[in-house]
């Protein structure tokens, strides 16, 4: 029958997909084993000790510490072993390798907007090279969404007000699916897209073929001028605002004595909510840019600030 003609999982097309399936099948295999054991015991007791049967009932003791300890300790040990395996693997799947190329994703009702480091923009499509680690940095501009690529066995919520990440390395060229897995309103079921995994040379061609816009950091530099950030954050230390070159990713000392790491969430907050964390030694002068910059523009500003971290400043 045709309805039985399907694979249990989608195709495996990322570096860790096989590992996840293996783990799932080990867990399920153990579960099926125990389930069948329980069914057999149930059937055996049910038949042997049905009312009126001649079974010897004196053997059954009302309590048996050895037996009880066995079924407490055996599952505990197995749970522990699975736990160690699963946790190590979890760290692998959720921590993007350092050499990942970063692609930026904004979710909105009901589409995905995607931007490549070279400046290409796509909607509901994601082109990636196979064999390369790709890190998606994602946020939403309205409600919570979830970026799900079944063939890569990867999925993560896309939450407004913060950045989440996922990474993968595509292994097989081909077309795969993007689904929104978190219910996000009326058109949720239609919030779909596709991933095109290409051989590296095809990917290079695709990059060159697209209308090459500005790279995010170049666009960010223009915004930096346009929005007037430059008047307070000129390179070099001015009394008005702190120097931004080299600060991304580094530790920042705050007025209240705490130290925080200037990660993407911190930079985003500094632009939208400058008063939330006051940099040590500077007055609360910076105006909020809330409502004036879109999620993409915030992202471009962050890309620009990060590019300032390079030892020699790019362009000009």
């Amino acid at each position: 029958m045709s309805i039985w003609n399907f694979p249990l999982f989608p195709k495996q097309a990322s570096s860790y997909a096989w590992h996840m399936d293996l783990m799932y099948f080990v867990l399920t295999g153990l579960s099926v084993f125990f389930f069948i054991a329980v069914l057999l015991v149930l059937a055996y007791f049910g038949i042997k000790y049905r009312k009126g049967s001649k079974a010897d009932r004196t053997l059954a003791s009302p309590d048996n510490n050895a037996l009880e300890l066995t079924w407490t300790i055996v599952p505990t040990i197995m749970a522990l072993a699975m736990f160690v395996w699963a946790t190590l693997f979890y760290f692998h799947v959720t921590q993007p390798p350092a050499d990942s190329m970063e692609i930026f994703v904004v979710g909105k009702q009901w589409m995905w907007k995607i931007q490549h480091p070279e400046g290409q923009r796509e909607i509901n499509e994601l082109h990636v090279p196979v064999g390369r680690n790709v890190k998606l940095t994602m946020t939403s501009q309205d409600v919570i969404h979830d970026f799900f690529i079944p063939e890569f066995r990867t999925k993560a919520d896309v939450v407004p007000g913060k950045y989440t990440q996922q990474w993968f390395r595509a292994t097989v060229p081909g077309e795969y699916h993007i689904f929104c897995a978190q219910y996000c309103g009326t058109e949720h079921s239609g919030m779909v897209g596709r991933v095109v995994a290409m051989k590296p040379e095809d990917y290079e061609n695709w990059l060159r073929g697209g209308a090459t816009g500005l790279t995010p950091s170049m666009a960010g530099e223009q915004l930096f001028q346009k929005l007037g950030c430059v008047s307070c954050h000129l390179s070099g230390d001015t009394p008005r605002g702190p120097k931004l070159a080299g600060m991304a990713g580094a530790a920042v000392k705050l007025q209240n004595g705490q130290t925080v790491t200037a990660d993407d969430d911190y930079l985003r907050e500094s632009i939208l909510y400058p008063n939330a964390k006051q940099v040590f030694g500077y007055p609360l002068l910076m105006p909020t840019f809330e409502g004036q910059v879109s999620e993409e523009e915030i992202r471009e500003l962050i890309a620009y600030i990060k590019s300032l971290a390079a030892p020699t400043q790019p362009s000009k």
Partner: protein, 593 residues
């Protein structure tokens, strides 16, 4: 039938099957209110079921007109124009199916009906500790249910943000969501009142001799459940009020900065000035919600385990195997269940260390469930098993709950959860627990305690038809959903996955599932007929028809309207002394010297 003193109230109040509506309205008797809970919750169960059938039609035949829908909804209704469901209506049905089933059907059946009715009897008590609190609990529950159902009539319809109501979606949603929150607050009041009452009743009203280790396991399960409700509901109450403020007075507790919805920034009007909204956190709601909703999952399970334990011991004619470890296991389960909530949030980017912590607590919490389940299984060992309808349902609970629990393992490990989260696999996992497991236990409980409540027995043959057809059909419905989930089909898809090109082969299963669900509806007819028929015509039974040992069977069937017992019983022994060597009958009731 036992004789009764002449000073008793009217006959109508004595026979609950014929009790007068007026008397019930003002009653503070735990039996009357327990029956009110039971009847109301069964009605809501049916409502939730009918809602689900509408959804299942849409999932099997997306976009096809539902025969008869025009007659039901009017041919150009906004919900089903021309009989075809619009997405908004599907999502209202989805959110309300979940909400009704959890908060208006299953929990009220377990805690409201069985708990309120049986616990005082099993304690040998004349009533609950605070009879008026019992009444408040019921009426507040009913009010919450009425608010929720009436929200379907609102211009924008009922709430449609899922039973989880995640912001920001729930905050920008229509008025139905406001009603959802108000209804939820009423349900919270009801649950807290009920929980306090239950705890005090169990601690204070145990009859002479009924020590803690002589309590029926069902009472223990209700005690732990009551603590869970008492501790977990207040945070949700607070969260509900915050969300209400976000919706009604434009605060931003759950709204982060910079939101742009349909092209416009979200703003609030403060003193004539328009200011941008923001500064809150969307995930805060999820923490507060799941801090309740995970313990709630155990509220949906523990009393069911308690009922299964009673039925199993009685029909195996054997004491519960390892009663003490079951009790300690249940207490441990209750404590741990307060520490696992964030395993519903593995994909929200919480951070790897927090995730590892919640993954560890999740592994730990599964151990006591295994202990209780295996102890129940071992209770059959060396028994003399009677396979009547209640026993069949109780036995089915074990493997069905087993499937639900075992499929939870890959969801509890954060890494395998990545692929399965928010798919039909999750839907299926908890339906195996709640429908195949808990609902089986509830049916078993109804067949088992019906004679106590009404003084009449239910029909065995209809009961068996009901059992076997339901068992087969439930598995026909839910087994295929695992396959859909593994293929990556998300939950909450109004079009049943039409746009999920890769999953078309598994989506064909939707038709089969829907037909099985419709057949399941038919399979409930023998039950409904049995219930109504036996109420009037069932053969009369004496006080202890199952030859059981716990104290509710010391009272007449039905128990005396006032005070339950003719003379308060005294507990002389443990709760399930069946087949004690050297005794001439195979059961020794707690109240026998």
């Amino acid at each position: 039938m036992t004789s009764h003193s002449p000073s008793l109230p009217s006959k109508a109040e004595r026979n609950p099957a014929a009790f007068s509506f007026r008397a019930a309205l003002v009653s503070t008797d735990h039996k009357v209110i327990g029956i009110l809970y039971g009847v109301t919750a069964l009605t809501f169960l049916l409502t939730g079921f009918l809602i689900m059938m509408l959804m299942r039609w849409q999932l099997a035949y997306p976009g096809r007109a539902l025969p008869g829908a025009s007659a039901l909804f009017g041919s150009n209704s906004a919900r089903m124009p021309g009989g075809v469901m619009v997405p908004e209506f599907y999502y209202q049905l989805g959110a309300m199916h979940g909400t009704i089933m959890v908060f208006l059907a299953i929990v009220p059946l377990l805690v409201g009906a069985f708990g309120t009715y049986l616990v005082p009897l099993q304690l040998g008590a004349p009533n609950t500790a605070f009879p008026r609190l019992t009444r408040l609990g019921y009426w507040s529950y009913l009010a919450g249910g009425v608010v929720w159902l009436s929200s379907f009539a609102l211009p924008g319809g009922a709430a449609q943000s899922g039973w989880t109501s995640y912001p920001p979606l729930s905050i920008i949603a229509g008025h139905g969501q406001t009603f959802w929150l108000i209804g939820m607050i009423l349900i919270i009041v009801s649950s807290i009142a009920g929980a306090i009452n239950m705890i005090v009743t169990i601690i204070q009203l145990r009859v002479i001799g009924l020590t803690y280790m002589r309590l029926p396991f069902f009472v223990w399960s209700q005690l732990v459940t009551a603590f869970l409700l008492l501790l977990a509901f207040p945070p949700l109450g607070a969260a509900g009020i915050l969300q209400l403020m976000d919706r009604v007075v434009d605060t931003s507790f759950f709204l982060p900065s910079g939101l742009v919805v349909s092209g416009a920034a979200l703003t609030a009007n403060v003193g004539g000035q328009t200011i941008p909204r923001g500064g809150g956190s969307a995930l805060l709601w999820q923490h507060l919600f799941w801090f309740l909703a995970h313990p709630e999952v155990y509220v949906l399970v523990l009393p069911a385990m308690g009922m299964v334990a009673e039925i199993l011991a009685n029909n195996a004619r054997k004491p519960l195997w390892g009663y003490k470890s079951m009790v300690y296991g249940t207490i441990f389960l209750g404590v741990m269940s307060m520490l696992v909530w964030a395993h519903h949030m593995f994909l929200t980017g919480m951070g790897t260390v927090i995730t590892a912590f919640f993954q560890a607590t999740t592994m730990i919490v599964s151990i006591p469930s295994i202990i209780v389940l295996t102890a129940l299984l071992a209770s059959l060992w060396g028994g003399a098993i009677r396979f009547n309808t209640p026993m069949l349902f109780a036995l089915a609970f074990l493997p069905m709950f087993g499937i639900g629990g075992l499929t939870g393992l890959p969801l509890g490990l954060a890494v395998t959860d990545i692929h399965l989260h928010d798919t039909y696999y999750v839907i299926d996992h908890f339906h195996y627990i709640v429908v195949c497991g808990t609902l089986s236990a509830i049916f078993g409980g109804i067949y088992y305690w019906f004679p106590k409540v009404t003084g009449r027995a239910m029909n065995e043959r209809l009961g068996r038809i009901h059992f076997w057809s339901s068992l087969v059909l439930l598995n026909c419905i839910f087994m295929p959903m695992f396959i859909q989930g593994m293929a990556g089909v998300s939950r909450r898809l109004y079009d049943g996955g039409l746009s999920y090109a890769h999953a078309q082969p598994v989506l064909k299963l939707n038709v089969f599932i829907t037909h099985a669900a419709f057949a399941l509806a038919l399979a409930q007819i023998p039950f409904i007929v049995n219930l109504l028929w036996s109420l009037r015509r069932g053969p009369r039974v004496e006080a202890n028809p199952w030859q059981a040992t716990t104290l509710e069977w010391a009272a007449a069937s039905p128990p005396l309207a006032q005070g339950n017992f003719e003379t308060p019983p005294v507990a002389h022994r443990g709760p399930c002394e069946y087949s004690v060597p050297g005794k001439d009958k195979d059961y020794t009731p707690q109240w026998e010297q």
